[in-house]
Amino acid sequence: MTLALAGALAWGVLALHRGETISAAWLVLAAVGTYLLAYRFYSRFLADRVFGLNDRRATPAERLANGRDFVPTQRWVLFGHHFAAIAGAGPLVGPVLAAQFGYLPGTLWIVFGVVLGGAVQDFVILFGSMRRDGKSLGQMAKEETGPVTGLLAMVAVLAIMVILLAVLALVVVNALKDSPWGVFTILCTIPIAILMGYWMKVWRPGRTLEASALGVVLLMAALVGGRYVAQSPILAPYFSYSGLTIAYGMIAYGFIASVLPVWMLLCPRDYLSTFMKIGAILLLALGILLVLPPLKLPAITRFVDGTGPVFAGKLFPFAFITIACGAISGFHSLVASGTTPKMLTRETDARLIGYGGMLMESFVAIMALCAAALLDPGIYFAINAPLATLGGNVHSAAEVIRGWGFTVTPEQIEGLAASVGEKTLLARTGGAPSLAVGMAQIFSAAFGTGLTALWYHFAIMFEALFILTTVDTGTRVGRFMLQELAGQVWRPLGRTSWYPSTVLASGLIVAAWGYFLVQGVLDPLGGINSLWPLFGISNQLLAAVALCVGTTLIIKSGKARYAWVTLLPLTWVLVVTLTAGWQKVFASDPRLGFLAHAATVVDQMAAGGMDSARGARLIFNDRLDAVVTLSFMIVTLLVVLASAREWVLILTRRKPAKAQESPFVETAYAG
């Protein structure tokens, strides 16, 4: 309660100190205070009144216990497990990009978005899946609203996966291009993972912790070794690559990882990245609490008018698209209806894990925002604006940034790059490098200076590690989904163990995200400008699908009077994403609208300012992006309409309000 009051006080301080430099402490305090209040009251209201969680009802983990996936798990352990599954690079990247509007819009959206939207979504889906023996989102959509909705939801998930993988891979490319240190460390993670895989499978079967401890030690050695590689005139050229080469390398890697046996690469990588994730996030929290750095970024920048260099578009709707993970993330609905519901010991644990787990991710997003906001604004824009805007060197960059009203000198930019062991930090758009610089500054201040370069590469390494793990698992999941869909056309294609089908499906998925990745690397505006909004839109639209399913569950369980808890965020997410989608397709500003950009390229080609092959490619890509955006919007609207029809039928009593829950079984646990 005291903390909640402190939170209210912190909001007051934030409100009063606009235009001055304030400490990150107020941001953290305001967020934590709000989370505690929301958890104490709102999540209790959801648990007791809306869902009617009942500890006397046996959970799937108890009824179907098999010691493998259905395992009753202690709630704090499950909290950690669920958190590690939902949080990754997403909450670290989005807030850093959205910092171009200043720290205030991002903070407000992250805190209030999660309390009323994201955490509610995760909680309702976890609840629904728990009452249905751990069924997936797609299965629930199919059972509660019909087979067409189920199929649409599945296609939407597949498409989102492709965009997600492309944009995250682009973040890694921008962090690793021309960086021998980073490339060396990341390359090392592959043999390390394979070594761990053999350890756990062949040499010492099942000894997963031993293998992980070994992996972490080797990873640290690779990190330190990277410095020697970068400083060696003989070795460094072998590890310096252009963005395009790294992109093709990642595509090849994604394909190989998807067809190799799981135990060899994917499973060990998953363990390694889980431990690194928990370790790095605890370290970041500790660092911020110890240092409490002042925020140098203004609360609101001039770029709310839509002229921002990192990505185009006004504060509304683009701040709410750019920050998806951390405020509301549709992707979570897949995890909340996957492994977690099969491990809940008691029904009421769902509150801590579903609602509380998402609050924790939101807190990670707030810390990422702090790490970006403590940078000098000039430095922030030097790292994040595209090269086409900044010009080719530090002098032109400093000139351009001064034109925006932020002071920065060429020497500062160069000095910073040198201090983190890089040749240049210009135009490393994508969030990872600016976050890494911010974190390096926090860690240096907290745990001693002199190691700035090491901290920077530590931060780059763990972000790239999460992302490559997502690339592995995402490609594989995409492959399974594609095989399932293809199997409905021709049976043998659906067999996931049939090698030709596996190779074909993996190839198609990799080709799909690889295409968008290469397009992003070659994009003159910096691919983040077109791909990140596309990812945000698709992720939020998946949230809309999940909230539709959630609303259906609530109405069908006879609680229509409480349906506003999901209808409220649903409406907001739809307004935001449909507006953003519409603007990305039809806006007349060529930096913002895909079609307008295509039109400028046509003009340039007619005037002879661009060769026809390159122009044709740009035009094709613009139109493709426009079609993809429109398809997302149409699929979502179809799901919303199908769900709304179901709601009306039930509310007008033309259809019985009966949810497809598993029958009540009394728990055998005491108390």
């Binding site: 493998r68 996936d69 497990h81 996966m161 499978k201 000894r207 997963t208 897949l334 996957g338």
Partner: protein, 64 residues
């Protein structure tokens, strides 16, 4: 090395394992003995293979 321990070390390592979603052989053997005495108990290698297959068999396990 990090396998069989007792007391709080075992408890801590078990927690780590479950948080990371790692298999727990002893718990599985325990479960089989109690609930399915008719099924033969797999060795550690067979159990690990089955576990990995089941865990990564379907559906996303990770978010972005």
């Amino acid at each position: 090395m990090l396998g069989r321990r007792t007391g709080w070390v075992a408890k801590f390592l078990g927690t780590l394992r479950r948080v990371a979603g790692m298999p727990d052989y002893d718990a599985h053997v325990d479960h089989l003995r109690r609930c399915h005495p008719e099924i033969p108990i797999p060795n550690e290698r067979e159990f690990y293979d089955d576990f990995v297959r089941a865990r990564y068999g379907d559906g996303p396990t990770r978010c972005c």
